[in-house]
Symmetry: C2
Subunit: 330 residues, 2 copies
């Protein structure tokens, strides 16, 4: 498989170096670690930290900035950072107002972040967390919801980031985070899988005319392979599946995120966005905020995810619209 | 080939609709045409218009905004707009200060834009143009430089856009444009070709271990196929080839653009940027501005281009740093 890298063992180091070089007016990085922070950690607000494996760029480094994260801790390809590095990040950015960890709901991510929280608390630091579980894909055998943390995580970065900036306490942010996360639903589809990279093998094959609903952000297989369809038909499937996640009549005001998974051109995302818009229009769902682009990718997967957020509080719109200099979202 | 579209005949219409929906607070579009403009055309500055085929997203619509373009005219996939639509765009945005057309150096683009300019002048309008020819690829037979207009065009949008905003006249902008364009050099490499789309066939094949230097932005073949190499070795080839375009010792202060061609993940662009930075550092070339991302794509080509701009005027740095709300560059 063709990949523009130098060696498998240096991917995290070299990709972070390239990103930090490009944005060195805004970001600090301790080489040899996966810890990236704002140039200056604000003194009078709760510190927001997120992170995960590399391979999801611009997540999460791209969300460090005003009204978003203060720090991102990056692991190896598709592997969360160690609890040791997360603890180091918590200590290093600690300002006495408390620290909120935004964790994507994967077993390994939870283990690392919650262990770091436990260790930090044992040192007397004020630390709490929220767990993002927006993925509505299902296990193909049991039909149980997977509830992984996927692209909707970026809405959480933005809304909690802006709420932290206006002075909400750690407890308030945790409550807001839980409310918010319960309203975020995401579903993905792939037209070709992520290539193997680093220690991660390719996890499924798709024939020339096949696509896969419900795939994951680490190249995981989905719940149903179908014959490739038009953008409009795929939009219908995703919008319908997401709608079903909300109680009847509760989805009347929403934010929408069309997220490219790393290997899909903007031309196709735009055509898909047009189809989504028409469907939401027919459903009489008012779209109060919308974004389209590569936000939380699965390396070079040719595919996309659609996220809906039911806006139950007007303030969330203000938080979404608050300016940011984070390079992945500005 | 898997493509997220609805029908080949509606690609321009539907992709513009999706983009306009996403950015409808900033952009105006006349459906059925390829003419996209700022919401309000400024009254007291030269109007800047560019354009070209679809398939290069976010170019050129993504560069409409403060300190950049006032209007972009989009044709079918990889086809320039008609002179009729360009003329309509010139007339519709005309404010009496004159209009500058920024044209990428392709035969068909020149024919359309220059015919529109001729027609507009015949109507008494003040119109002029600059031709961007930053591509340093060569014909594989004749070794002549191709001099196509490629990713460096975005630097021209930004610098002339910011210069127009501070009140430079049409003549001044044309002179500045020519100076600037002579200092912009770009070279591209592909790891897999653009898929066929619309009326455009796939134009070459690459084996699993091959890459192609000097490819074009419409899926055109390059000048040399080689065995796939490391990011560092590719960076060496591109940096060396670009350096050779400048007279000795003139390349000591530069802006750099690492441009993804639509199908390459940010992880790989970042690793490549790190290699470029190290090479420029060794060469003692001071980098005063840098950008990395998908700026002028070739549909879903897995590949990238590297652009260098020798900064011979300090003002160019100010123009590059002037803020913009253009969604492709902000």
């Amino acid at each position: 498989m063709k990949q523009l890298i130098n060696s498998s063992g240096h991917i995290r180091q070299q990709l972070l170096a390239g990103i930090i070089y490009t944005y060195n007016d805004k970001l600090n990085w301790q080489p040899e670690t996966g810890i990236v922070t704002k140039k200056i950690i604000p003194e009078n607000k709760v510190v927001l930290i997120s992170g995960g494996g590399c391979g999801h760029e611009p997540a999460h480094i791209g969300y460090i900035g005003e009204n978003m994260l203060d720090c991102a801790v990056m692991g190896a390809i598709f592997e969360p950072p160690t609890s040791g590095e997360i603890l180091q990040a918590i200590e290093q950015t600690y300002n006495g107002c408390g620290t909120l960890l935004i964790i994507k709901n994967f077993e390994k991510d939870l283990a690392s972040f919650l262990e770091a929280e436990r260790l930090a608390k044992a040192k007397g630091l004020l630390v709490s967390h929220v767990i993002v579980d927006d993925d509505c894909s299902i296990e193909s055998g049991s039909f149980e919801k997977r509830r992984r943390g996927v692209a909707g995580t970026v809405f959480v970065h933005k809304i909690l980031g802006a709420a932290a900036a206006v002075g909400h306490s750690l407890d308030e942010l945790q409550i807001l985070g839980k409310q918010l996360i319960s309203q975020i639903k995401t579903l993905g589809v792939a037209f070709s899988p992520a290539s193997p990279i680093g220690m991660i093998p390719q996890q499924y094959e798709l024939a020339e005319d096949e696509m896969y609903f419900g795939i994951g952000i680490h190249g995981e297989p989905g719940y149903r392979i179908e014959t490739m369809q038009s953008s409009e038909r795929i939009a219908i499937e995703l919008v319908n599946k997401l709608k079903q996640q909300y109680p009847r009549n509760e989805l009347n005001k929403a934010a929408v995120l069309v997220n490219g998974l790393g290997g899909i051109p903007l031309l196709e995302l735009s055509i898909f966005m047009n189809d989504v818009q028409q469907l939401l229009d027919i459903e009489d769902i008012e779209i109060v905020y919308k974004r389209m682009g590569n936000f939380l990718t699965a390396y070079n997967t040719n595919g996309l995810s659609l996220t809906l957020l039911t806006v139950t509080e007007e303030k969330w719109i203000d938080y979404l619209n608050a300016p940011t200099d984070a390079f992945g979202w500005k």
